[in-house]
């Protein structure tokens, strides 16, 4: 669905690259996550893929179209939800969607239905300028679904939203993906990435450090830990034991055999911890 080779981008058109030598492919039907701290170059990469930024160096193919000679028909196949909401404040939610849908040459979804999906049907006829930040974001998000995109770009789809709305959005993304939509998602939220993505790319300072599935990353970099709480005579003891370390494993065996265990759960490394391990930097 997406193929990127040797992509470089500099806003200042010099050696200061916001993206340097990016190479990756996104398969049809997968959710591909672009993960990295603020300023890593996620939005820049997405901007190039969606034709918002001019391609400077490299080869980029999106949904079968070469980005260098941008064919506007490509946009019938893709949807883009922006990091910053950008709807017409002076138009109502419904008017915004009604206008936008007419710009496509393909069948589009019913705006009213879409508003319902993100819980905005009750404010359909309210001007967007009166919306809260979260409402505007949902409108921007749902607008990108109008043309039933085959390839869906989501820039920070849940950032800054309250948890209930964020989880609602995650569910919609999952459902769309189940229907076959390919998703390219950028975020600096590791939980979102972990939950939604089939594969993730770690990007920092414009550099893609690695690309793999969250599961593989955890297997490879994560140390499996077990947290146990057990009783020795009358005192409650709490320990974190590695499942890889031989000494810890014997100790755990011993605790289990004495039959004094009160609580026990496995703890996997989070993507966040892995990110720090791989890049030496945090995500915030």
């Amino acid at each position: 669905m997406i193929k990127v080779e040797g992509l470089y981008h500099s806003y200042t058109k010099d050696e200061k690259y916001a993206v340097k030598n990016a190479n990756f492919e996104v398969e049809k039907g997968e959710v591909f996550g672009f993960l990295g701290p603020s300023g890593a170059g996620k939005s820049t990469t997405q901007g190039i893929l969606t034709g918002l930024l001019q391609l400077q160096t490299g080869k980029v193919n999106v949904a079968g179209y070469d980005i260098r000679k941008l064919d506007r028909r490509m946009f019938n196949k893709i949807g883009m939800s922006f990091e910053q909401s950008n709807v017409y404040g002076k138009l109502t939610a419904l008017e915004n969607l009604e206008f936008y849908r007419k710009l496509f040459d393909v069948p589009t979804n019913d705006p009213k239905e879409l508003l319902k999906i993100v819980g905005l049907e009750h404010v359909a006829n309210k001007r967007a300028i009166e919306f809260s930040k979260g409402m505007k974001h949902r409108l921007t998000f749902v607008r990108s679904m109008l043309n039933n995109p085959e390839l869906w770009f989501l820039d920070e789809p849940t950032t800054g939203l309250d948890p209930a709305i964020a989880s609602q959005i995650k569910d919609i993304v999952k459902a769309k993906n189940d229907e076959g939509t390919t998703v390219f998602l950028t975020t600096h939220n590791m939980y979102v990435a972990d939950e939604l993505c089939n594969r993730v790319a770690f990007i920092i300072d414009g550099d893609i450090k690695l690309i793999d599935s969250p599961r593989n990353l955890k297997l490879q970099y994560g140390e499996k830990l077990v947290e146990v709480e057990y009783r020795v005579s009358d005192t409650l003891k709490k320990e974190k034991l590695s499942l890889i370390d031989e000494k810890d494993r014997l100790h755990l065996n011993e605790i289990i055999n004495t039959g004094q265990v009160e609580l026990m759960h496995t703890k996997e490394a989070t993507l966040e911890e892995i990110f720090i391990k791989v890049t030496g930097r945090g995500l915030e």
Partner: protein, 344 residues
């Protein structure tokens, strides 16, 4: 089709914005000012104080001339009285006429601020008026009408081309730029950029809105002030093309900036520069090449033709063609620039 939707959306948006009404309000204010504040013709009558120390035939003749003239003459008893009157009324002028033997002496008393030109005019006028009617005078001054067809508009109508040029034509330059920056600010341009729509459809939608306001404000001014005197059939293509030129120029200038604040200086400077053409419009004697090269210069005269009884249509349609071509060139250029810069 997308162009139409863009246009309709922009009409809806702009009808809810302040800028849309600026131009129309300006047009209404102009109409009001011209109708109720500006007279149809400015009062150019100057009081002329005259003292005569003449006798016989000459005195009769001079008096005859004074009576027949349309200027405001007041006869006074002495030269001193003329000077005193002049001091009271600084816009007046005076003359003391006396005889020395067979010679008539005209002694002009002026305020001191008059320039050479004015003095020459007075001299010529007086000579021709008085001298012609004085016996034994050899007629040396001849007055020739240079252009038999020169039609003169009244002062009120004469101002219309300036208003049409600055308000209906070039106000759009500001407004279209502000619309673009508004969209940039809201980020909605980016949303449009990821649809199959083309930048030119987006830009032309805005040009359409400016055209609607331009036509509206043009008619608001023209109908009440010129009424049936204007040639509307020729006015419409002229306004459309010049308005298009204004929009294209505005788009072109705005394409070099990313905020209204940064573009403001250039937009404002452009309007002011274009406005300079009205100096030459009023004072044809002052029309240096730099002013004649301004697009607003031929435009003013083309609008003037629209108001004349016998308009020079070749001048009107030369402007229509010229601004049509210039608009297309500027628009294509702006479109090319926006393709690269609009979404950054």
């Amino acid at each position: 089709m997308r162009l139409l939707y863009n246009f309709l959306k922009d009409m809806k948006l702009s009808s809810k914005s302040f800028y849309f009404y600026v131009e129309l309000a300006m047009a209404l204010i102009m109409v009001f000012v011209l109708l109720f504040v500006v007279p149809e013709n400015f009062d150019r009558q100057q009081t002329f104080y005259v003292h005569m120390n003449l006798e016989g035939v000459v005195a009769d003749k001079v008096e005859e001339v004074l009576e027949g003239s349309d200027d405001n003459y007041i006869l006074l008893d002495s030269r001193e009285a003329v000077e005193a009157a002049l001091e009271k009324e600084r816009s007046s002028a005076g003359v003391s006429i006396s005889m020395e033997g067979q010679k008539v002496i005209y002694d002009f008393i002026l305020q001191g601020y008059e320039d050479e030109k004015f003095k020459n005019i007075i001299e010529t006028v007086v000579k021709s008026e008085f001298a012609v009617k004085t016996p034994d005078y050899n007629r040396v001054t001849e007055i020739k009408v240079l252009d038999e067809n020169a039609e003169k508009l009244n002062d009120r109508l004469n101002m219309l081309p300036i208003i049409l040029t600055l308000n209906a034509t070039f106000m759009g330059l500001f407004i279209i730029a502000s619309y673009i920056f508004l969209d940039k600010d809201e980020g909605t341009i980016k949303a449009l950029a990821v649809t199959p729509g083309y930048i030119w459809e987006y830009l032309l939608g805005k040009v359409g809105v400016i055209m609607v306001t331009g036509l509206a404000s043009g008619f608001i001014v023209l109908i009440p002030l010129a009424g049936a005197k204007a040639h509307y059939i020729h006015f419409i293509p002229l306004l459309i093309m010049t308005n298009l030129f204004g929009s294209a120029l505005g788009l072109f200038i705005a394409s070099f900036f990313d905020t209204m604040a940064k573009a403001m200086g250039w937009l404002y400077g452009t309007i002011i520069t274009l406005g300079f053409a009205s100096i030459s419009y009023y004072m044809p004697a002052f029309s240096p090449l730099v002013i004649r090269l301004l697009p607003s210069y031929p435009m003013l005269f083309a609008y003037r033709e629209i108001l004349l009884d016998k308009p020079d249509l070749s001048l009107v349609y030369m402007n229509v063609g010229l601004f049509g071509v210039l608009s297309v060139i500027l628009f294509l250029f702006a479109n090319g620039r926006y393709k690269k810069t609009l979404t950054v």
